[in-house]
């Protein structure tokens, strides 16, 4: 009987003591060490531990695939085909693309600093969904 109930009692005490201690300021030195690692593993790890490399890769691949055959590429093709110096066209368009990417990233970071994390995530999700729908629409209307 005691063996069966002891673990439950211990876990009950463990949990009951954790919650009130978070509200107390006296034992504050002890509880963050116990509570925070659990929170960071659950809530932050999918997002913060997503390495810069995987972000780079995801961004690169998705934007690359989305831009193939896009109107920007087409206008670049037309200009380089009609001009006598396609490399100048490439340099000009490369500069413009870098500028617009920079503007996009700066704008995104600035907006993110003004809104709460949840709003940012929801807006980003909605925007990406819109882009996905725009791409599907592109596919079905262009051919």
């Amino acid at each position: 009987m005691k063996l069966d109930s002891a673990p439950l009692d211990i876990s009950g005490i463990f949990q009951a003591e954790i919650e009130p201690e978070l509200k107390d300021s006296t034992d504050f030195n002890l509880t963050p060490a116990i509570a925070l690692p659990v929170q960071s593993v659950v809530a932050d790890s999918p997002q913060k531990q997503q390495s810069a490399l995987s972000v780079f890769g995801t961004t690169f691949v998705t934007i690359f695939l989305a831009e193939i055959g896009d109107k920007t590429q087409l206008s670049t093709l037309l200009m380089s085909a009609e001009s006598h110096s396609p490399w100048i066209v490439f340099v000009g368009s490369a500069a413009a693309l870098i500028t617009t990417s920079l503007l996009g990233v700066l704008l995104g970071s600035w907006i993110a600093s003004r809104l709460s994390a949840k709003t940012v995530e929801k807006s980003a999700g909605v925007m990406l969904l819109l882009i996905s729908l725009m791409l599907f629409w592109d596919i079905f209307t262009s051919h």
Binding site: V42, P46, Q47, K48, Q50, A52, V55, F56, T59, F60, V61, T62, I63, F64, L65, A66, I68, G69, T72, Q73, S75, T76, L77, M79, S80, A81, S83, P86, W87, I88, V89, F90, V91, G92, S93, A94, A96, L97, I98, T100, S101, L102, G104, V105, L107, G108, I111, A112, K122, S123, A124, G125, V126, L128, L129, I131, S132, L133, L135, I139
Partner: protein, 100 residues
């Protein structure tokens, strides 16, 4: 150095990219991640590669690559990213299980 052509191509591409879906993607992706620099390099790199392919291959790009299929892959990819973000918002603890 044909500055006129340089300026013309810059302006044309800039105006056509402003508010284009790749810029929207850059805005959306950089807002929520901790390394906007990675998003910038990924976006700029991808755009540079596509314009380089365009400059090199000319009109043959559309014929060599199955554009519709690539766009479909990209659309699905964006949709997956969007769904992850929207689901992650509602159930933070279950994200690792719901990620496809």
């Amino acid at each position: 150095m044909d500055w006129h052509l340089l300026g013309l191509s810059f302006i044309t591409v800039f105006l056509s990219e402003l508010g284009d879906k790749s810029q929207l993607a850059a805005i959306a992706l950089s807002g929520r991640c901790n390394s906007p620099r990675a998003v910038f390099f990924g976006a700029a790199g991808a755009l540079l590669l596509t314009s380089l392919l365009g400059a090199l291959a000319g009109g043959a790009v559309a014929e060599l690559l199955p554009t519709r299929i690539l766009k479909a892959i990209a659309a699905v990819g964006f949709a997956i990213l969007a769904v992850r973000l929207l689901l992650f918002n509602n159930e933070p603890s279950a994200d690792s299980e719901k990620t496809p």
